[in-house]
Amino acid sequence: MNVEEQAPDKTGKNKTSYSQLEMMVIASSRLLEDQERVLVGTGLPLVGAGLAKKTHAKDMVVIMEAVAFDSNPQSLPFCVADARAVYKTRWVPTAAEVMGHFLQGGRIDVGYLGGAQVDQYGNLNSTCIGDYYSPTKRFEGSGGASDIAALAKKTIIIMAHEKKRFVETVDYITSTGWKCRSYDGKSLVYRWELGLDGGPFAVVSTMGVMKFDANTHKMYVDYYYADLGVTLGEIINATGFDIDTSRAKPMEPPTLLELELLRTKVDPEGIYMKY
């Protein structure tokens, strides 16, 4: 994820190089809107939310599951329980309130999540690879991701684009997408059949921005990072299921302001961005 390429001088405003990782964080941050209540997961969402607050969404309400409501961190929190998330807030809730009351109460507009695996219906896996009882790779677990995917009005997923991550069916559905597990565990059903509202709105990767077809609820490519040289063929190759690229448009490159804020204000140490 440390690709650095010279940005083509198309618009005249991007005479600098930037990475696919940066484009991913910036593209996802652009999907956040001012005034929205955004429940931010740990990892890159903390970076993207920080950037949005400093650019187009100054009054976005940043919420973190452990402790923070309407957070305005002066320094990048490195987890959702960090003191940096609490500084200059007007209320210090716990997970009982954030998750038990606000999320479960339908008061969260956007869930902003990372994950290890995503499938064509936007189901997320952050639990394990392989068999659940003897996994080849065991991850940290859901944290709040499962709740957020079930209960937010929409979710935005941010994840590196690799064939082993973009799979036809995730090994374990930690967080529900459009077509998820039936109660008996034996089949996949549409989330509304279980009475779930919301659903994945976009998957933002290191190659592009994917959305979900309104009829099939399968993932398609909405934007690709043409400016970074990413091709639709590369996306197809890095995706473990058939993906519709017919609607793909080139992504607008980062502005100088976005890049500068990201590099010097949002994550100057490169804790997540690993400069």
């Binding site: 960090d82 609490v86 210090v92 003897s134 009475g195």
Partner: protein, 332 residues
């Protein structure tokens, strides 16, 4: 309980923790974890613990790595951005450790609701979460083998039910969490057990009430009268606290609001060591088993390093600390 002075010594903590107990560790992942007490529990070689803290951080990976744990029931085990929980992973992934650790997966919302139900002493609570997730897939239940036979484990993981009162939605009933012991580290506690926490109490109040026994270590133990001044923001009443102990830096290497930040050097060394069973054992010898007292551990960490971690009291954290492990220099 409220009239007495409840001060104990760190050496006595393990007397309250019995082999096989369900243990709640307070704090949140890498923040305000009761590390000094956890080191003590490890030193006393407790066995078959059933960890129910939600979520788990380095204290959970450490207890697993030290062989103290047979069951974990939580939404997360890890060190956040610092790195992965290698001891937990090894138990789950390696053929030769099969069956040594039963792990039941949950979520943050349901972890909160379950410990709230425990505090309310109600056997279960409904939730709108979990639907559609493999977390309630009946064929993927990490405690399946224990249900019905182990009385520390609920007989079922979940029961689906139609709401008979309003619109008839299907909700998931989930069992209360009932810890036997709760270990919490706080900024301040009264000698009567009253606990003051800033920067986020997380689920510690609920856990203290839900648990059979609650032990609180704090940076400072103060006369109970001092806490009358902050009554509105005190978070745990002395009534549910069985013992308190003063342990400065007692949450090291995790962060404590207004007192100190995370110790990146600790995480760097621990993460390296925990990748390998032999090196993990050496790490435990070096940092836990060989230490007579927690103050020896702090002495070994060193004054300079502890100074580097100090929080700015206005911010609540240390604005100058470096947090990126791959570019971390030495303590200067």
């Amino acid at each position: 309980m409220s009239g007495s002075n409840k001060k104990i010594l760190l050496e006595q903590v393990a007397d309250y923790v019995k082999d096989g107990d369900r243990v709640w560790t307070g704090g949140w992942t890498v923040v305000r974890k009761p590390m000094a007490m956890v080191y003590e529990v490890i030193k006393k070689r407790k066995k078959n613990l059933h960890l129910v803290g939600n979520p788990g951080g380095p204290e959970t990976d450490l207890l697993i790595g030290a062989g103290c744990v047979i069951k974990t029931e939580t939404n997360y085990i890890g060190h956040e951005v610092f790195g992965h929980p290698y001891n937990f992973r090894r138990k789950m992934e390696d053929e030769k450790h099969q069956g040594e650790l039963f792990h039941d997966d949950w979520t943050v919302a349901t972890g909160a609701l379950r410990i709230m139900a425990g505090a309310m002493n109600i056997p279960f609570i409904p939730t709108r979460s979990l639907k559609g997730s493999d977390i309630i897939n009946p064929s993927l239940d990490g405690f399946q083998a224990l249900r019905g036979s182990d009385d520390k484990v609920p007989k079922k993981k979940v029961v689906l039910m139609e709401d008979p009162f309003w619109e008839g939605d299907t909700v998931a009933l989930i069992p209360a969490l009932k810890p036997d012991v709760c270990l919490i580290h706080a900024q301040e506690a009264g000698d009567d057990g009253t606990v003051s926490i800033t920067g986020g109490a997380f689920l510690d109040y609920y856990a203290a009430v839900a648990s059979g026994i609650t032990i609180v270590s704090a940076e400072r133990i103060v006369p109970r009268e001092a806490l009358e001044q902050t009554a509105e923001s005190n978070v745990i009443p002395g009534e549910v606290v069985n013992a308190v102990l003063e342990v400065p830096n007692g949450a090291h290497p995790t962060a404590l609001h207004r007192f100190y930040d995370n110790d990146p050097w600790w995480f760097k060394e621990y993460l390296e060591a925990s990748k390998d069973e032999q090196r993990m054992e050496e790490w435990l010898e070096k940092w836990v088993y060989s230490m007579d007292h927690f103050s020896d551990y702090l002495e070994k960490i060193g004054f300079k390093r502890l100074q580097k971690l100090r929080a700015n009291p206005v911010y609540g954290y240390n604005p100058d600390i470096k947090r990126r492990l791959d570019k971390l220099g030495g303590v200067t």
